[in-house]
Symmetry: C3
Subunit: 205 residues, 3 copies
Protein backbone atom coordinates (compact mmCIF):
# COMPACT_ATOMS: atom_id res chain seq x y z
CA UNK A 1 0.00 0.00 0.00
CA UNK A 2 2.86 2.33 0.85
CA UNK A 3 4.25 1.81 -2.66
CA UNK A 4 0.92 2.75 -4.28
CA UNK A 5 0.77 5.81 -2.04
CA UNK A 6 4.10 7.14 -3.27
CA UNK A 7 3.20 6.34 -6.88
CA UNK A 8 0.00 8.31 -6.36
CA UNK A 9 1.95 11.27 -4.96
CA UNK A 10 4.42 11.08 -7.86
CA UNK A 11 1.59 10.94 -10.40
CA UNK A 12 -0.05 13.92 -8.72
CA UNK A 13 3.21 15.87 -9.03
CA UNK A 14 3.59 14.97 -12.72
CA UNK A 15 0.06 16.16 -13.49
CA UNK A 16 0.72 19.38 -11.54
CA UNK A 17 3.79 19.99 -13.73
CA UNK A 18 1.70 19.42 -16.86
CA UNK A 19 -1.02 21.86 -15.72
CA UNK A 20 1.45 24.55 -14.62
CA UNK A 21 3.40 24.23 -17.88
CA UNK A 22 0.22 24.76 -19.91
CA UNK A 23 -0.36 27.95 -17.89
CA UNK A 24 3.25 29.15 -18.21
CA UNK A 25 3.11 28.75 -21.99
CA UNK A 26 0.11 31.09 -22.09
CA UNK A 27 1.76 33.83 -20.02
CA UNK A 28 -0.48 33.25 -17.01
CA UNK A 29 0.93 34.58 -13.71
CA UNK A 30 2.57 32.34 -11.10
CA UNK A 31 -0.58 32.12 -9.06
CA UNK A 32 -2.69 31.10 -12.03
CA UNK A 33 -0.06 28.50 -12.88
CA UNK A 34 -0.28 27.10 -9.35
CA UNK A 35 -4.05 27.00 -9.63
CA UNK A 36 -3.86 25.20 -12.97
CA UNK A 37 -1.33 22.73 -11.55
CA UNK A 38 -3.66 22.04 -8.66
CA UNK A 39 -6.79 21.59 -10.76
CA UNK A 40 -5.05 19.33 -13.30
CA UNK A 41 -3.53 17.17 -10.56
CA UNK A 42 -6.58 16.66 -8.37
CA UNK A 43 -9.39 16.99 -10.95
CA UNK A 44 -9.70 13.38 -12.08
CA UNK A 45 -9.35 11.72 -8.69
CA UNK A 46 -11.64 14.24 -7.02
CA UNK A 47 -14.38 13.66 -9.56
CA UNK A 48 -14.07 9.90 -9.03
CA UNK A 49 -14.30 10.31 -5.25
CA UNK A 50 -17.23 12.71 -5.49
CA UNK A 51 -19.12 10.14 -7.60
CA UNK A 52 -18.20 7.42 -5.07
CA UNK A 53 -19.58 9.79 -2.41
CA UNK A 54 -16.34 9.82 -0.40
CA UNK A 55 -13.90 12.63 0.35
CA UNK A 56 -11.07 13.26 -2.09
CA UNK A 57 -7.78 12.18 -0.46
CA UNK A 58 -6.21 15.64 -0.60
CA UNK A 59 -8.92 17.10 1.67
CA UNK A 60 -7.52 15.17 4.61
CA UNK A 61 -3.96 14.41 3.53
CA UNK A 62 -1.94 17.59 2.99
CA UNK A 63 0.92 15.65 1.33
CA UNK A 64 -0.92 15.74 -1.98
CA UNK A 65 -0.97 19.54 -1.93
CA UNK A 66 2.73 19.61 -1.07
CA UNK A 67 3.42 17.30 -4.03
CA UNK A 68 1.51 19.75 -6.22
CA UNK A 69 3.49 22.75 -4.97
CA UNK A 70 6.74 20.90 -5.67
CA UNK A 71 5.44 20.13 -9.16
CA UNK A 72 4.60 23.78 -9.79
CA UNK A 73 8.04 24.90 -8.61
CA UNK A 74 9.67 22.28 -10.83
CA UNK A 75 7.66 23.56 -13.80
CA UNK A 76 9.17 27.02 -13.22
CA UNK A 77 12.74 25.77 -12.73
CA UNK A 78 12.61 23.31 -15.62
CA UNK A 79 10.97 25.82 -17.92
CA UNK A 80 14.37 26.75 -19.33
CA UNK A 81 15.08 23.19 -20.44
CA UNK A 82 11.63 22.86 -21.91
CA UNK A 83 12.49 21.08 -25.14
CA UNK A 84 14.17 18.07 -23.59
CA UNK A 85 11.86 18.22 -20.65
CA UNK A 86 8.73 17.92 -22.81
CA UNK A 87 9.84 14.47 -23.95
CA UNK A 88 10.55 13.39 -20.37
CA UNK A 89 7.20 14.80 -19.31
CA UNK A 90 5.41 12.81 -21.99
CA UNK A 91 6.99 9.60 -20.64
CA UNK A 92 6.07 10.50 -17.07
CA UNK A 93 2.55 11.36 -18.12
CA UNK A 94 2.16 8.04 -19.94
CA UNK A 95 3.34 6.22 -16.80
CA UNK A 96 1.12 8.44 -14.66
CA UNK A 97 -2.12 7.72 -16.52
CA UNK A 98 -1.32 4.02 -16.29
CA UNK A 99 -1.06 4.13 -12.52
CA UNK A 100 -3.98 6.54 -12.08
CA UNK A 101 -6.22 4.26 -14.16
CA UNK A 102 -5.30 1.26 -12.01
CA UNK A 103 -5.70 3.15 -8.72
CA UNK A 104 -9.06 4.48 -9.94
CA UNK A 105 -10.46 1.05 -10.86
CA UNK A 106 -9.17 -0.47 -7.61
CA UNK A 107 -10.70 2.25 -5.44
CA UNK A 108 -14.05 2.14 -7.26
CA UNK A 109 -14.31 -1.62 -6.80
CA UNK A 110 -13.26 -1.27 -3.14
CA UNK A 111 -16.17 1.17 -2.69
CA UNK A 112 -18.59 -1.24 -4.36
CA UNK A 113 -19.35 0.32 -7.69
CA UNK A 114 -20.42 -2.04 -10.48
CA UNK A 115 -17.63 -3.46 -12.67
CA UNK A 116 -18.65 -1.41 -15.71
CA UNK A 117 -18.76 1.78 -13.62
CA UNK A 118 -15.34 0.97 -12.15
CA UNK A 119 -13.99 0.94 -15.71
CA UNK A 120 -15.49 4.39 -16.38
CA UNK A 121 -14.26 5.76 -13.06
CA UNK A 122 -10.75 4.39 -13.66
CA UNK A 123 -10.63 6.21 -16.97
CA UNK A 124 -12.08 9.33 -15.36
CA UNK A 125 -9.37 9.30 -12.67
CA UNK A 126 -6.66 9.42 -15.29
CA UNK A 127 -8.23 11.77 -17.83
CA UNK A 128 -10.58 14.30 -16.24
CA UNK A 129 -7.83 16.45 -14.72
CA UNK A 130 -6.57 17.13 -18.23
CA UNK A 131 -10.10 17.79 -19.48
CA UNK A 132 -10.67 20.41 -16.76
CA UNK A 133 -7.25 21.94 -17.55
CA UNK A 134 -8.18 22.29 -21.22
CA UNK A 135 -11.66 23.67 -20.49
CA UNK A 136 -10.18 26.33 -18.22
CA UNK A 137 -7.57 27.24 -20.83
CA UNK A 138 -10.47 27.56 -23.28
CA UNK A 139 -9.19 24.94 -25.75
CA UNK A 140 -10.94 21.80 -27.00
CA UNK A 141 -10.01 19.01 -24.57
CA UNK A 142 -7.21 16.67 -25.71
CA UNK A 143 -9.62 13.80 -25.10
CA UNK A 144 -11.79 15.06 -27.98
CA UNK A 145 -8.89 15.57 -30.36
CA UNK A 146 -7.44 12.89 -32.59
CA UNK A 147 -5.09 11.32 -30.08
CA UNK A 148 -5.24 8.00 -28.32
CA UNK A 149 -5.23 9.00 -24.67
CA UNK A 150 -8.43 8.20 -22.82
CA UNK A 151 -8.95 5.10 -24.96
CA UNK A 152 -5.60 3.77 -23.70
CA UNK A 153 -6.90 4.25 -20.15
CA UNK A 154 -10.18 2.59 -21.07
CA UNK A 155 -8.35 -0.45 -22.48
CA UNK A 156 -6.22 -0.73 -19.33
CA UNK A 157 -9.25 -0.40 -17.07
CA UNK A 158 -11.13 -3.16 -18.93
CA UNK A 159 -8.09 -5.45 -18.74
CA UNK A 160 -7.77 -4.77 -15.01
CA UNK A 161 -11.38 -5.80 -14.37
CA UNK A 162 -11.05 -8.92 -16.56
CA UNK A 163 -7.74 -10.03 -15.01
CA UNK A 164 -9.06 -9.49 -11.47
CA UNK A 165 -11.46 -12.39 -12.20
CA UNK A 166 -8.43 -14.68 -12.72
CA UNK A 167 -6.29 -16.12 -9.89
CA UNK A 168 -3.46 -13.65 -10.66
CA UNK A 169 -2.26 -11.62 -7.65
CA UNK A 170 -3.37 -7.98 -7.32
CA UNK A 171 0.13 -6.63 -7.87
CA UNK A 172 0.58 -8.49 -11.15
CA UNK A 173 -2.88 -7.46 -12.39
CA UNK A 174 -2.07 -3.84 -11.57
CA UNK A 175 1.31 -4.02 -13.28
CA UNK A 176 -0.05 -5.62 -16.48
CA UNK A 177 -2.95 -3.14 -16.72
CA UNK A 178 -0.75 -0.10 -16.16
CA UNK A 179 1.70 -1.44 -18.76
CA UNK A 180 -1.13 -1.79 -21.29
CA UNK A 181 -2.10 1.86 -20.82
CA UNK A 182 1.52 2.98 -21.11
CA UNK A 183 2.24 0.84 -24.18
CA UNK A 184 -0.88 1.89 -26.11
CA UNK A 185 -0.22 5.54 -25.34
CA UNK A 186 3.49 5.33 -26.17
CA UNK A 187 3.04 3.40 -29.42
CA UNK A 188 0.17 5.58 -30.62
CA UNK A 189 2.23 8.77 -30.18
CA UNK A 190 5.39 7.22 -31.66
CA UNK A 191 3.58 5.99 -34.79
CA UNK A 192 1.03 8.82 -34.84
CA UNK A 193 -1.99 6.48 -34.68
CA UNK A 194 -5.55 7.64 -34.17
CA UNK A 195 -9.07 6.24 -34.01
CA UNK A 196 -11.48 6.80 -36.89
CA UNK A 197 -14.30 9.31 -36.60
CA UNK A 198 -17.82 8.69 -37.87
CA UNK A 199 -18.03 9.69 -41.55
CA UNK A 200 -20.69 12.27 -42.28
CA UNK A 201 -23.19 12.19 -45.11
CA UNK A 202 -21.92 13.54 -48.41
CA UNK A 203 -24.53 16.28 -48.66
CA UNK A 204 -23.61 17.79 -45.30
CA UNK A 205 -21.53 20.83 -46.23
Amino acid sequence: MSFIYYIDLLGTMVFAISGAMAANRNGIDVFGATFMGFVTAIGGGSLRDVFLNIRPVWVEDGNYLIAIFIGVILSIILNKQLDNFARTLFLFDAIGIGFFTVVGVEKSIAYESSAISAVMLGMFSACMGGVIRDVLMNVTPLILRKEIYASACLAGAIIYVLLSLTPLSDGIVAFISASVVFTIRFVSVKYNLSLPSVPMMENKS
Copy 2:
Protein backbone atom coordinates in the same frame (compact mmCIF):
# COMPACT_ATOMS: atom_id res chain seq x y z
CA MET B 1 -41.35 2.41 -9.98
CA SER B 2 -40.36 -0.02 -12.70
CA PHE B 3 -42.00 2.23 -15.29
CA ILE B 4 -40.03 5.29 -14.11
CA TYR B 5 -36.86 3.18 -14.19
CA TYR B 6 -37.27 2.30 -17.86
CA ILE B 7 -38.19 5.89 -18.73
CA ASP B 8 -35.01 6.98 -16.98
CA LEU B 9 -32.96 4.47 -19.00
CA LEU B 10 -34.64 5.61 -22.22
CA GLY B 11 -34.00 9.28 -21.40
CA THR B 12 -30.36 8.44 -20.65
CA MET B 13 -30.05 6.77 -24.06
CA VAL B 14 -31.60 9.75 -25.85
CA PHE B 15 -29.20 12.17 -24.19
CA ALA B 16 -26.29 9.88 -25.07
CA ILE B 17 -27.39 10.01 -28.73
CA SER B 18 -27.52 13.81 -28.58
CA GLY B 19 -24.02 14.08 -27.07
CA ALA B 20 -22.48 11.58 -29.47
CA MET B 21 -24.10 13.28 -32.47
CA ALA B 22 -22.63 16.64 -31.42
CA ALA B 23 -19.22 14.95 -31.35
CA ASN B 24 -19.69 13.16 -34.69
CA ARG B 25 -20.62 16.44 -36.38
CA ASN B 26 -17.30 17.90 -35.23
CA GLY B 27 -15.21 15.03 -36.61
CA ILE B 28 -14.29 13.76 -33.16
CA ASP B 29 -13.15 10.11 -33.06
CA VAL B 30 -15.41 7.26 -31.91
CA PHE B 31 -13.94 7.23 -28.45
CA GLY B 32 -14.47 10.97 -27.98
CA ALA B 33 -18.04 10.52 -29.21
CA THR B 34 -18.61 7.80 -26.60
CA PHE B 35 -17.16 10.08 -23.94
CA MET B 36 -19.41 12.97 -25.02
CA GLY B 37 -22.44 10.67 -25.05
CA PHE B 38 -21.61 9.53 -21.55
CA VAL B 39 -21.04 13.02 -20.14
CA THR B 40 -24.20 14.43 -21.73
CA ALA B 41 -26.31 11.55 -20.48
CA ILE B 42 -25.14 11.38 -16.88
CA GLY B 43 -24.08 15.03 -16.30
CA GLY B 44 -27.35 16.49 -15.06
CA GLY B 45 -28.44 13.61 -12.85
CA SER B 46 -24.94 13.18 -11.41
CA LEU B 47 -24.73 16.85 -10.46
CA ARG B 48 -28.14 16.59 -8.76
CA ASP B 49 -27.05 13.50 -6.82
CA VAL B 50 -23.71 15.05 -5.85
CA PHE B 51 -25.56 18.06 -4.42
CA LEU B 52 -27.96 15.73 -2.59
CA ASN B 53 -24.83 13.97 -1.25
CA ILE B 54 -25.84 10.57 -2.61
CA ARG B 55 -24.22 8.36 -5.23
CA PRO B 56 -25.26 8.83 -8.85
CA VAL B 57 -27.34 5.81 -9.95
CA TRP B 58 -24.93 4.75 -12.70
CA VAL B 59 -22.11 4.15 -10.17
CA GLU B 60 -23.95 1.12 -8.84
CA ASP B 61 -26.30 0.20 -11.67
CA GLY B 62 -24.39 -0.72 -14.83
CA ASN B 63 -27.58 -0.69 -16.94
CA TYR B 64 -27.28 3.08 -17.34
CA LEU B 65 -23.87 2.69 -18.94
CA ILE B 66 -25.22 -0.03 -21.24
CA ALA B 67 -28.05 2.33 -22.26
CA ILE B 68 -25.41 4.95 -23.06
CA PHE B 69 -23.36 2.54 -25.21
CA ILE B 70 -26.50 1.59 -27.13
CA GLY B 71 -27.21 5.28 -27.66
CA VAL B 72 -23.69 5.91 -28.97
CA ILE B 73 -23.93 2.97 -31.37
CA LEU B 74 -27.34 4.20 -32.56
CA SER B 75 -25.84 7.65 -33.19
CA ILE B 76 -23.28 6.03 -35.53
CA ILE B 77 -25.81 3.83 -37.33
CA LEU B 78 -28.42 6.55 -37.64
CA ASN B 79 -25.86 9.11 -38.73
CA LYS B 80 -26.67 8.36 -42.37
CA GLN B 81 -30.32 9.28 -41.89
CA LEU B 82 -29.40 12.41 -40.00
CA ASP B 83 -31.87 14.84 -41.52
CA ASN B 84 -35.02 12.95 -40.63
CA PHE B 85 -33.45 11.70 -37.47
CA ALA B 86 -32.77 15.21 -36.16
CA ARG B 87 -36.49 15.90 -36.05
CA THR B 88 -37.18 12.64 -34.25
CA LEU B 89 -34.34 13.38 -31.86
CA PHE B 90 -35.83 16.78 -31.04
CA LEU B 91 -39.11 15.12 -30.10
CA PHE B 92 -37.34 12.50 -27.98
CA ASP B 93 -35.27 15.20 -26.31
CA ALA B 94 -38.37 17.25 -25.49
CA ILE B 95 -39.99 14.16 -23.95
CA GLY B 96 -36.72 13.34 -22.19
CA ILE B 97 -36.30 16.70 -20.45
CA GLY B 98 -39.91 16.43 -19.29
CA PHE B 99 -39.31 13.12 -17.58
CA PHE B 100 -35.87 14.08 -16.27
CA THR B 101 -37.30 17.24 -14.69
CA VAL B 102 -40.01 15.23 -12.94
CA VAL B 103 -37.61 12.50 -11.78
CA GLY B 104 -35.23 15.21 -10.52
CA VAL B 105 -37.83 17.05 -8.47
CA GLU B 106 -39.20 13.78 -7.06
CA LYS B 107 -35.78 12.51 -6.02
CA SER B 108 -34.77 15.84 -4.44
CA ILE B 109 -37.95 15.95 -2.36
CA ALA B 110 -37.46 12.29 -1.40
CA TYR B 111 -33.99 13.24 -0.09
CA GLU B 112 -35.40 16.16 1.89
CA SER B 113 -34.23 19.20 0.01
CA SER B 114 -36.36 22.35 0.41
CA ALA B 115 -39.15 22.84 -2.16
CA ILE B 116 -37.39 25.73 -3.89
CA SER B 117 -34.16 23.71 -4.12
CA ALA B 118 -36.07 20.75 -5.51
CA VAL B 119 -37.25 23.01 -8.33
CA MET B 120 -33.66 24.06 -9.10
CA LEU B 121 -32.40 20.47 -8.89
CA GLY B 122 -35.20 19.23 -11.15
CA MET B 123 -34.17 21.78 -13.76
CA PHE B 124 -30.49 20.88 -13.24
CA SER B 125 -31.21 17.18 -13.84
CA ALA B 126 -32.69 17.91 -17.22
CA CYS B 127 -30.35 20.67 -18.42
CA MET B 128 -26.85 20.35 -17.00
CA GLY B 129 -25.84 17.39 -19.17
CA GLY B 130 -26.33 19.60 -22.22
CA VAL B 131 -24.46 22.48 -20.55
CA ILE B 132 -21.45 20.24 -19.89
CA ARG B 133 -21.64 18.92 -23.48
CA ASP B 134 -21.54 22.47 -24.85
CA VAL B 135 -18.72 23.58 -22.53
CA LEU B 136 -16.59 20.61 -23.61
CA MET B 137 -17.31 21.33 -27.28
CA ASN B 138 -16.21 24.90 -26.55
CA VAL B 139 -19.49 26.56 -27.60
CA THR B 140 -21.76 28.84 -25.59
CA PRO B 141 -24.25 26.58 -23.79
CA LEU B 142 -27.70 26.26 -25.39
CA ILE B 143 -29.15 27.31 -22.06
CA LEU B 144 -27.57 30.77 -22.51
CA ARG B 145 -28.73 31.17 -26.09
CA LYS B 146 -32.10 32.54 -27.12
CA GLU B 147 -34.06 29.33 -26.86
CA ILE B 148 -36.67 28.25 -24.39
CA TYR B 149 -35.19 25.09 -22.96
CA ALA B 150 -34.27 25.30 -19.29
CA SER B 151 -37.16 27.68 -18.66
CA ALA B 152 -39.55 24.97 -19.89
CA CYS B 153 -37.99 22.63 -17.29
CA LEU B 154 -38.25 25.32 -14.64
CA ALA B 155 -41.96 25.82 -15.36
CA GLY B 156 -42.59 22.07 -15.19
CA ALA B 157 -40.64 21.76 -11.93
CA ILE B 158 -42.63 24.59 -10.30
CA ILE B 159 -45.92 23.05 -11.43
CA TYR B 160 -44.83 19.67 -10.03
CA VAL B 161 -44.12 21.16 -6.60
CA LEU B 162 -47.41 23.12 -6.59
CA LEU B 163 -49.51 20.16 -7.73
CA SER B 164 -47.92 17.86 -5.18
CA LEU B 165 -49.61 20.02 -2.53
CA THR B 166 -53.01 19.07 -3.99
CA PRO B 167 -54.73 15.68 -3.46
CA LEU B 168 -53.84 14.57 -7.03
CA SER B 169 -52.05 11.21 -7.27
CA ASP B 170 -48.29 11.17 -7.87
CA GLY B 171 -48.64 9.63 -11.31
CA ILE B 172 -51.02 12.32 -12.52
CA VAL B 173 -48.86 15.11 -11.08
CA ALA B 174 -45.82 13.64 -12.85
CA PHE B 175 -47.68 13.28 -16.13
CA ILE B 176 -49.06 16.85 -16.08
CA SER B 177 -45.67 18.36 -15.17
CA ALA B 178 -43.78 16.43 -17.84
CA SER B 179 -46.45 17.43 -20.38
CA VAL B 180 -45.99 21.10 -19.46
CA VAL B 181 -42.24 20.85 -20.11
CA PHE B 182 -42.81 19.07 -23.42
CA THR B 183 -45.53 21.47 -24.59
CA ILE B 184 -43.60 24.65 -23.77
CA ARG B 185 -40.49 23.29 -25.46
CA PHE B 186 -42.38 22.03 -28.51
CA VAL B 187 -44.45 25.20 -29.02
CA SER B 188 -41.47 27.53 -28.49
CA VAL B 189 -39.43 25.76 -31.18
CA LYS B 190 -42.37 25.45 -33.59
CA TYR B 191 -43.23 29.18 -33.33
CA ASN B 192 -39.64 30.32 -32.73
CA LEU B 193 -40.44 31.99 -29.41
CA SER B 194 -37.81 33.39 -27.03
CA LEU B 195 -37.56 35.25 -23.75
CA PRO B 196 -36.52 38.92 -23.73
CA SER B 197 -33.02 39.94 -22.62
CA VAL B 198 -32.31 42.95 -20.42
CA PRO B 199 -31.91 46.05 -22.62
CA MET B 200 -28.58 47.82 -22.16
CA MET B 201 -28.06 51.56 -21.76
CA GLU B 202 -27.87 53.51 -25.01
CA ASN B 203 -24.33 54.76 -24.41
CA LYS B 204 -22.91 51.26 -24.06
CA SER B 205 -21.22 50.65 -27.37
Copy 3:
Protein backbone atom coordinates in the same frame (compact mmCIF):
# COMPACT_ATOMS: atom_id res chain seq x y z
CA MET C 1 -23.47 32.72 14.04
CA SER C 2 -26.53 34.71 13.01
CA PHE C 3 -24.25 37.54 11.85
CA ILE C 4 -22.16 35.18 9.67
CA TYR C 5 -25.39 33.77 8.24
CA TYR C 6 -26.60 37.16 7.03
CA ILE C 7 -23.15 38.01 5.67
CA ASP C 8 -23.22 34.74 3.77
CA LEU C 9 -26.66 35.58 2.32
CA LEU C 10 -25.46 39.08 1.38
CA GLY C 11 -22.34 37.69 -0.28
CA THR C 12 -24.48 35.19 -2.19
CA MET C 13 -26.65 38.05 -3.45
CA VAL C 14 -23.63 40.09 -4.54
CA PHE C 15 -22.20 37.16 -6.52
CA ALA C 16 -25.64 36.58 -8.10
CA ILE C 17 -25.65 40.22 -9.25
CA SER C 18 -22.18 39.79 -10.75
CA GLY C 19 -23.16 36.62 -12.63
CA ALA C 20 -26.44 38.07 -13.92
CA MET C 21 -24.72 41.31 -15.03
CA ALA C 22 -22.17 39.29 -17.04
CA ALA C 23 -25.11 37.57 -18.77
CA ASN C 24 -27.03 40.81 -19.35
CA ARG C 25 -24.01 42.40 -21.01
CA ASN C 26 -23.90 39.53 -23.50
CA GLY C 27 -27.57 39.85 -24.47
CA ILE C 28 -28.53 36.58 -22.77
CA ASP C 29 -32.25 36.24 -21.94
CA VAL C 30 -33.65 36.79 -18.45
CA PHE C 31 -33.72 33.08 -17.73
CA GLY C 32 -30.11 32.61 -18.75
CA ALA C 33 -29.19 35.58 -16.57
CA THR C 34 -30.95 33.97 -13.61
CA PHE C 35 -29.11 30.74 -14.29
CA MET C 36 -25.76 32.56 -14.47
CA GLY C 37 -26.55 34.43 -11.26
CA PHE C 38 -27.34 31.16 -9.56
CA VAL C 39 -24.23 29.33 -10.78
CA THR C 40 -21.91 32.20 -9.91
CA ALA C 41 -23.39 32.58 -6.44
CA ILE C 42 -23.44 28.95 -5.36
CA GLY C 43 -20.56 27.54 -7.44
CA GLY C 44 -17.68 28.12 -5.04
CA GLY C 45 -19.43 27.12 -1.84
CA SER C 46 -21.03 24.09 -3.45
CA LEU C 47 -17.70 22.82 -4.73
CA ARG C 48 -16.22 23.23 -1.25
CA ASP C 49 -19.11 21.31 0.32
CA VAL C 50 -18.98 18.57 -2.31
CA PHE C 51 -15.27 18.07 -1.54
CA LEU C 52 -16.05 18.03 2.20
CA ASN C 53 -18.70 15.40 1.36
CA ILE C 54 -21.55 17.42 2.91
CA ARG C 55 -24.63 18.97 1.34
CA PRO C 56 -24.37 22.52 0.02
CA VAL C 57 -26.37 24.85 2.30
CA TRP C 58 -28.76 25.96 -0.43
CA VAL C 59 -30.07 22.41 -0.92
CA GLU C 60 -31.78 22.54 2.46
CA ASP C 61 -32.07 26.29 3.13
CA GLY C 62 -34.23 28.01 0.49
CA ASN C 63 -33.18 31.49 1.73
CA TYR C 64 -30.02 31.29 -0.37
CA LEU C 65 -32.06 30.84 -3.53
CA ILE C 66 -34.30 33.76 -2.54
CA ALA C 67 -31.16 35.90 -2.03
CA ILE C 68 -30.06 34.91 -5.53
CA PHE C 69 -33.43 35.85 -7.09
CA ILE C 70 -33.27 39.24 -5.36
CA GLY C 71 -29.75 39.68 -6.74
CA VAL C 72 -30.88 38.85 -10.27
CA ILE C 73 -33.82 41.30 -10.04
CA LEU C 74 -31.46 44.00 -8.71
CA SER C 75 -29.12 43.37 -11.65
CA ILE C 76 -32.01 44.13 -14.03
CA ILE C 77 -33.22 47.22 -12.14
CA LEU C 78 -29.73 48.62 -11.58
CA ASN C 79 -28.68 47.90 -15.16
CA LYS C 80 -29.60 51.46 -16.12
CA GLN C 81 -27.18 52.93 -13.59
CA LEU C 82 -24.47 50.54 -14.62
CA ASP C 83 -21.51 52.91 -14.66
CA ASN C 84 -21.74 54.03 -11.06
CA PHE C 85 -23.01 50.66 -10.04
CA ALA C 86 -19.97 48.85 -11.40
CA ARG C 87 -17.75 50.69 -8.92
CA THR C 88 -20.09 49.86 -6.04
CA LEU C 89 -20.22 46.26 -7.22
CA PHE C 90 -16.44 46.04 -7.22
CA LEU C 91 -16.37 47.15 -3.58
CA PHE C 92 -19.11 44.67 -2.64
CA ASP C 93 -17.31 41.91 -4.48
CA ALA C 94 -14.02 42.68 -2.67
CA ILE C 95 -15.86 42.54 0.67
CA GLY C 96 -17.68 39.41 -0.47
CA ILE C 97 -14.58 37.40 -1.35
CA GLY C 98 -13.11 38.36 2.01
CA PHE C 99 -16.04 36.94 3.91
CA PHE C 100 -16.43 33.90 1.64
CA THR C 101 -12.75 33.04 2.12
CA VAL C 102 -13.10 33.20 5.90
CA VAL C 103 -16.37 31.22 5.95
CA GLY C 104 -14.77 28.63 3.64
CA VAL C 105 -11.69 28.11 5.82
CA GLU C 106 -13.80 27.99 8.99
CA LYS C 107 -16.20 25.41 7.57
CA SER C 108 -13.40 23.22 6.19
CA ILE C 109 -11.61 23.15 9.55
CA ALA C 110 -14.92 22.45 11.30
CA TYR C 111 -15.32 19.41 9.03
CA GLU C 112 -11.79 18.23 9.80
CA SER C 113 -9.89 18.88 6.61
CA SER C 114 -6.12 19.35 6.98
CA ALA C 115 -4.91 22.95 7.50
CA ILE C 116 -3.36 23.18 4.04
CA SER C 117 -6.55 21.84 2.43
CA ALA C 118 -8.64 24.33 4.43
CA VAL C 119 -6.58 27.10 2.82
CA MET C 120 -7.28 25.74 -0.66
CA LEU C 121 -10.97 25.23 0.10
CA GLY C 122 -11.28 28.75 1.52
CA MET C 123 -9.85 30.15 -1.70
CA PHE C 124 -12.12 27.84 -3.74
CA SER C 125 -15.21 29.07 -1.89
CA ALA C 126 -14.47 32.63 -2.88
CA CYS C 127 -13.21 32.13 -6.44
CA MET C 128 -14.73 29.09 -8.12
CA GLY C 129 -18.16 30.66 -8.67
CA GLY C 130 -16.47 33.25 -10.88
CA VAL C 131 -14.41 30.58 -12.64
CA ILE C 132 -17.57 28.63 -13.52
CA ARG C 133 -19.25 31.88 -14.67
CA ASP C 134 -16.34 32.62 -17.01
CA VAL C 135 -16.15 29.06 -18.36
CA LEU C 136 -19.88 29.11 -19.18
CA MET C 137 -19.54 32.52 -20.88
CA ASN C 138 -16.69 30.96 -22.87
CA VAL C 139 -14.01 33.44 -21.74
CA THR C 140 -10.67 32.74 -20.03
CA PRO C 141 -11.37 32.79 -16.27
CA LEU C 142 -10.46 36.03 -14.45
CA ILE C 143 -8.37 33.88 -12.11
CA LEU C 144 -6.03 33.07 -15.02
CA ARG C 145 -5.75 36.67 -16.22
CA LYS C 146 -3.28 39.21 -14.87
CA GLU C 147 -5.29 40.34 -11.88
CA ILE C 148 -4.74 39.77 -8.20
CA TYR C 149 -7.96 38.08 -7.16
CA ALA C 150 -7.56 34.49 -6.04
CA SER C 151 -4.11 35.26 -4.64
CA ALA C 152 -5.74 37.83 -2.31
CA CYS C 153 -8.06 35.06 -1.10
CA LEU C 154 -5.12 32.69 -0.70
CA ALA C 155 -3.23 35.24 1.43
CA GLY C 156 -6.28 35.80 3.64
CA ALA C 157 -6.85 32.07 4.03
CA ILE C 158 -3.23 31.47 5.08
CA ILE C 159 -3.41 34.31 7.60
CA TYR C 160 -6.64 32.90 9.01
CA VAL C 161 -5.06 29.49 9.60
CA LEU C 162 -1.92 31.03 11.16
CA LEU C 163 -3.86 33.41 13.42
CA SER C 164 -6.17 30.64 14.58
CA LEU C 165 -3.10 29.09 16.24
CA THR C 166 -2.77 32.25 18.40
CA PRO C 167 -4.96 33.04 21.43
CA LEU C 168 -6.91 35.68 19.43
CA SER C 169 -10.70 35.25 19.47
CA ASP C 170 -12.43 33.74 16.41
CA GLY C 171 -14.23 36.99 15.57
CA ILE C 172 -11.00 39.00 15.50
CA VAL C 173 -9.19 36.37 13.41
CA ALA C 174 -12.07 36.37 10.93
CA PHE C 175 -12.14 40.17 10.76
CA ILE C 176 -8.36 40.50 10.21
CA SER C 177 -8.29 37.79 7.54
CA ALA C 178 -11.25 39.22 5.63
CA SER C 179 -9.64 42.67 5.82
CA VAL C 180 -6.42 41.30 4.35
CA VAL C 181 -8.31 39.88 1.37
CA PHE C 182 -10.21 43.13 0.85
CA THR C 183 -7.11 45.33 1.19
CA ILE C 184 -4.95 43.29 -1.20
CA ARG C 185 -7.74 43.19 -3.78
CA PHE C 186 -8.57 46.90 -3.40
CA VAL C 187 -4.95 48.11 -3.54
CA SER C 188 -4.04 45.86 -6.46
CA VAL C 189 -6.91 47.20 -8.58
CA LYS C 190 -6.32 50.82 -7.54
CA TYR C 191 -2.60 50.68 -8.41
CA ASN C 192 -3.01 48.15 -11.23
CA LEU C 193 -0.63 45.62 -9.67
CA SER C 194 -0.12 42.10 -10.98
CA LEU C 195 1.99 39.03 -10.29
CA PRO C 196 4.82 38.09 -12.66
CA SER C 197 4.46 35.20 -15.10
CA VAL C 198 7.20 32.68 -15.80
CA PRO C 199 9.47 34.01 -18.58
CA MET C 200 9.76 31.71 -21.56
CA MET C 201 12.96 30.72 -23.35
CA GLU C 202 14.13 33.16 -26.02
CA ASN C 203 13.99 30.60 -28.82
CA LYS C 204 10.35 29.79 -28.17
CA SER C 205 8.57 31.67 -30.95
